[in-house]
């Protein structure tokens, strides 16, 4: 797949001396949903702001669809829509006027039909004549998306799109994003909700302290980094892991009632069969068993912790 955004050797040191980004290289493929995952202050917003033209990079280059973001800013910015993290919109303006304004600002001739389509998709059409200050938080968030889509961009940046949005609205938002992707828009979202990346993204980058730690296909990342655990609820509690089972990667809970077996999903032999056989030989019986797979969240926490 061709990359639509190409970031090379990008760094940013603010005037205060704070280094928000340290040499970032990144390629975003056309048509994908790309999640930029990282804790607060990791550099997510700085990275997005540079690509969109709000922050000037200290070193490095960014190209969007082959155009340089500085020398050819008109071409690159026309392709991009940005939904900022903060709910900022002109309080006294009406919804319809505000979206039309955005379309004009991005160099597109007026197109009431497109504005109507965008507002309908985001369930804002009924509120088109309302002043922005009368909207709820969720509606404001959708308004900012509508504004970003007003000029029919090929790339959409969503900076923390579901921060402070309730569960049902979050699901709606994900649906909107999926529809956009289906229509060919490349989506880059930043989030510190792992659930969101897990739910939506095709690929995930983890960023911490201004550095990209990993960029990987989401499934691949979860497969590679993921561990599986088998938990056995024992009929009778044990004082310690029996000698006969020492060869297995086992952990005993404090109350001695649960044995946890951690294994690698990648390995050809997981060792479960051998473990169960050895348990039977040792006459250890169990009442229940459960397996669990580490989520993206666990992976993320491990990765971020490992860079400290």
């Amino acid at each position: 797949m061709t990359s639509i955004i190409s970031v090379k050797g990008l760094s940013k040191t603010y005037q205060s001396g704070f280094q928000a980004l340290k040499t970032v290289d990144l390629d975003i493929r056309e048509g994908e949903i790309f999640a930029l995952l990282g804790p607060n202050g990791a550099g997510k917003t700085t990275l997005i702001s540079i690509v969109c033209g709000i922050v000037t990079p200290t070193t490095g280059t960014v190209t969007v669809a082959g155009h340089d973001i500085i020398t050819d800013y008109r071409a690159t910015r026309s392709l991009i829509g940005l939904v900022p993290q903060e709910l900022t919109a002109d309080a006294f303006e009406t919804v319809g006027n505000s979206v039309s304004f955005s379309r004009g600002l991005f160099g597109q001739p007026p197109d009431p039909a497109h504005i109507e389509k965008v507002l309908r998709e985001l369930s804002l059409w009924d509120r088109r004549d309302s002043k922005i200050m009368t909207l709820s938080g969720g509606m404001k968030r959708r308004l900012l998306i509508a504004k970003a889509l007003a000029h029919e961009p090929r790339i959409l940046f969503l900076d923390e799109p579901t921060a402070g949005v309730d569960v049902s609205l979050r699901k709606d938002m994900w649906e909107v994003v999926r529809q956009l992707r289906a229509s060919g828009v490349t989506i880059i979202l930043t989030t510190h909700y792992i659930e969101e990346a897990e739910e939506m993204a095709d690929r995930v980058a983890v960023i911490a302290r201004g550095q990209i730690i990993v960029v990987e296909d989401k499934q691949e990342l979860m497969r590679k980094m993921g561990k599986k655990q088998l938990v056995l609820h024992l009929s009778n509690s044990l004082g310690a892991v029996p000698e006969a089972l020492a060869a297995h990667n086992l952990a005993l809970s404090d109350d001695g009632k649960e044995l946890t077996f951690t294994y690698d999903t990648q390995a050809g032999r997981t060792g479960i069969t051998a473990l169960l056989r050895d348990l039977a030989d040792a006459s250890i019986t169990f009442t229940d068993l459960a397996t669990s797979q580490s989520s993206l969240e666990d992976i993320f926490v491990d990765l971020v912790a490992s860079t400290k």
Partner: protein
């Protein structure tokens, strides 16, 4: 040229004026009317003519300039400061617009508003005193050039300011005194020679003098100098704005 962007900004700014029509139009007209009542009718009737012009008529160009300067600055400074304050500036910075287009949109709208206001004040004044305009072309030229120049100054202040107080400081502490001392209510020829010389360092003197000349053909300084000085201020403001955009001063990190 992203003409749609210029139009969008211009339209947005003009719409803002209509939302605040009371403070943008009504209050300057009211305050001008008060000046006429106080200086024109009450005090002016006891003042002899100045260079053959009744005092009430004499102060008209100065009063228009007073409103033009303060309103141009406040319109333009608020126009660009508010998005910075509210955070909506992100949209402007991420849009495919050049600094020139941004300036044309904001300054154009601010200047339009103050020109309309200037003409309304002129019409209001005509209800009180007899006015004749000797050089309509130059009258309009001074009006437009001054409106544009001071809207640019307002734009500069709007980018420089990082609080609502700073937004008020320059108009209140610098522009209003300079206008009052720049010959709004008197001819600087009425001053002692020393203060006449001092007044020549006041840039507003040239604006008011030139503007008054376009009405009554009387001036404190040569009209050519007035035009030249107006163009110099314009160039200075333009230079400051282009420096601001080049360095991203208070706009871009």
């Amino acid at each position: 040229m992203n003409i749609y962007a210029v139009k969008a900004i211009y339209k947005f700014e003009m719409a803002r004026a209509w939302r605040t029509v009371m403070q943008s139009i009504v209050s300057p007209v009211l305050s001008t009317s008060l000046y006429f009542v106080v200086f024109g009718a009450a005090i002016g009737s006891r003042i002899q003519q100045i260079e053959g012009i009744s005092y009430g008529a004499f102060i008209v160009p100065g009063l228009i300039m007073l409103s033009l300067l303060t309103q141009s600055i406040s319109n333009a400074s608020f126009g660009i400061y508010f998005p910075r304050f509210a955070g909506t500036i992100y949209e402007l910075l991420s849009a495919p617009v050049s600094p020139l287009e941004i300036v044309i949109g904001y300054v154009g709208a601010a200047a339009t508003k103050s020109i309309i206001l200037g003409l309304i004040i002129l019409a209001t004044a005509a209800a009180f005193v007899e006015i004749h305009v000797a050089h309509p072309f130059w009258m309009i030229t001074f009006l437009v050039l001054t409106a544009i120049t001071f809207s640019m100054l307002g734009f500069v202040i709007g980018i420089w300011a990082d609080g609502f107080e700073k937004l008020q400081v320059i108009p209140l502490l610098i522009v209003t005194p300079l206008t009052f001392l720049g010959g709004t209510f008197y001819s600087i020829k009425m001053l002692p020679e020393f203060w006449q010389t001092v007044s020549l360092f006041n840039p507003v003197v040239y604006l008011i003098s030139g503007f008054r000349w376009s009405f009554y053909e009387i001036s404190d300084v040569n009209v050519g100098i007035s035009v030249a000085m107006t163009l110099v201020f314009l160039a200075v403001c333009l230079a400051i704005i282009s420096w601001m955009f080049k360095t991203g001063y208070k706009l871009k990190a």
